[in-house]
Symmetry: C2
Subunit: 212 residues, 2 copies
Amino acid sequence: MNVDGRLARGQRTRTAVLDAAVSLASASGLDGLSLGHLAESLGVSKSGLFAHWRSKEELQLATIDRAVAQWQEQIIAPALRTPRGVRRIHALHEARIVFYAGRVLPGGCFFATTEFEFNARPGAVRDRLAEVIAAWTAFLERLVAEAVELGELPADTDVALLAYEIDAYGIAAAMRSRLLDPEVTYRHARSGVLGRLRALCPDPALLPEGPS
Amino acid sequence: MNVDGRLARGQRTRTAVLDAAVSLASASGLDGLSLGHLAESLGVSKSGLFAHWRSKEELQLATIDRAVAQWQEQIIAPALRTPRGVRRIHALHEARIVFYAGRVLPGGCFFATTEFEFNARPGAVRDRLAEVIAAWTAFLERLVAEAVELGELPADTDVALLAYEIDAYGIAAAMRSRLLDPEVTYRHARSGVLGRLRALCPDPALLPEGPS
DNA sequence: TACTAAAAAGAACGACCGGTCGTATATATT
DNA sequence: AATATATACGACCGGTCGTTCTTTTTAGTA
């Protein structure tokens, strides 16, 4: 288990840089993120960054991967610890709102910011972001499909549509919570999805009580 | 009605510049929009822009105003030509989707892009964008409230929540239509709102037929 | 025709951008 | 102890950024 101390040091630096990069990019975008600012905010030299990534684009791609891992840990993992079906769907959405409301990232949502930033800019970054959102969409649809299979949602449910709707509530929350009243926004995002699921789910005991 | 030819020329230039600025900013953001590119794409000198706006920020603010006017003409005006109530709500959403699907702007949606870009960057631009989205939200809520008053939606409808939901479908469409399958995305955005309104509206004749 | 004012161009600026290079410093291997 | 390697640094490059200043062109006025 003894690892090379040099590699360990590099790994430590890499992680610290990418964590800071995800934070900064969530607020300023992957393009607005400048190597000079990033290096300065970490107390390292700009040129030192090039020892780990040969170009800014490579660092941008690595930053995306890091943000995916963070999303996996903080939003997807909690949901997977919840029983399949509507409860898992609800847990996923709830973890997302908690993540936004907890101000984990200064910009709110890394993916919402960067996907809007790059959706009209061809290149490797855009392609990678498209892959990420496709995987996220597929995951959401799988959760909805499972709920249908379990009989917790009607058999004629439009799975892709419901997944779209749930995601839309989250995206809107990420945007509006920073420009309008956050509390009101989160309440809408929460009760929107909850109301939707409650209207479809035949077993009301599976979902939390509370004001619509 | 005879106007000063010099001023008229300036007005023409100003309009042309702002139209191009809205287009470019919808794809690259208000910050990614560089004065050099903007000037070059118009066949104008960079310094000439400063005859009309004293700084980039001033031009950014003017660009926002121009985008608001465009939104007013192409999305709000058509809706206001439709009878009040759920039909007007539906017309508004439909005009929005048509605007996105018609590729009027290369980036899809000026506001979605810039609001995500600036939601974590304090300053005059962010403040102006916050005003714009607040006005848009108020407008949407007014349309929903009118439908309730007309009896086309239940009296106990959560007006602000329904307005949030309708807007969320639009925001999600702007983002996903550029990274995932556009046709599927627009179908979801359309049938999502339509399904929502049909489930609430007691008079089915007010809304178009068609698959869910 | 002379004068004025608006619009636009041109050249130049300091600051910062992403990126390169040579070098110094740790840590490992022999 | 000598050597190799991964990491990190400081100095610097060409280019672009927003911005300023000066000059020229265009249009209206007396």
